[in-house]
């Protein structure tokens, strides 16, 4: 379906993940204490068959080699004559938790699943959309110290 990278990020007005780099790899830094988020705009390919989407977050611990990060993803369908884009209209957030790799610098891949229909804001093949990705830093399940560094997001049909 597609992929997003740090350079594709669209920062919201406040509490946004920060662009950085690690050994030349662009990263988006998600804080450990405050909930930061960022948005990505895409178009759902015309071969989408209604099977729902799996959004996989590829990330590293900036300083930690243990602990969990809870990710929250939400989708906004931006098709013609639908939402007024002057206000956000994301569907219900879906979450998944991943564990930091025991070796600093190694990547963890955490999959967030979205069933077709309401979960993806009724997104259909060929529709523009936004994906909002947040680290649920205030959630008790989010235990990892320090920033979570996102290097890529992949979106595939489930």
């Amino acid at each position: 379906m597609g992929a997003f990278f740090p350079a594709d990020s669209e920062a919201p007005a406040s509490n946004y993940a920060l662009l950085n780099s690690r050994n030349g790899h662009p990263t988006l830094e998600y804080d450990a204490a405050a909930e930061w988020a960022t948005n990505f705009t895409g178009v759902l390919p015309r071969n989408y068959g209604g099977g729902g989407l799996t959004v996989t977050v590829h990330w590293m611990g900036a300083s930690a080699t243990s602990g969990d990060v809870k990710w929250g993803g939400s989708i906004e369908r931006d098709n013609a004559n639908n939402h007024d884009l002057d206000a956000d209209a994301y569907a219900t957030e879906q979450t998944a938790t991943g564990t930091a790799n025991g070796t600093s610098g190694k990547v963890t891949s955490t999959a967030i699943t979205f069933t077709d229909g309401a979960n993806v804001d009724s997104l259909a093949a060929g529709d523009p959309f936004r994906l909002k990705l947040a680290r649920k830093a205030a959630d008790g399940a989010d235990t990892m110290t320090g920033n979570a560094q996102l290097i890529a997001i992949t979106v595939v049909e489930t």
Partner: protein, 86 residues
């Protein structure tokens, strides 16, 4: 001065984590709750021993320096002892 409020302790620990990330330091197997507990314990220790720290400063510095200036002096000593050249 009493111990920090829960909000201030959380803010202080959050800053500590951000500083570690900025320095690209690796943290061993400790979770956010572990670091917060450590921060809280040191805050409590400082509260319990503030008078002793103050009395360790000889005159005239003890009376000439403001409280924030004494705090920065303590920070400078800790930095030189444990961080500089580490």
């Amino acid at each position: 001065m009493a111990v920090l409020s829960s909000a201030d302790r959380a803010a202080g620990c959050a800053k500590y984590m951000r500083d570690l990330c900025a320095a690209r330091e690796t943290i061993g197997p400790a979770l956010k709750a572990d670091l917060q507990a450590a921060f809280n314990a040191l805050d409590a220790f400082m509260d319990a021993n503030a008078a002793a720290v103050n009395n360790a400063i000889p005159l005239p510095a003890r009376t000439v320096l403001t409280v924030p200036q004494k705090a920065r002096l303590l920070e400078a000593v800790i930095f030189q002892r444990y961080i500089s050249g580490a």
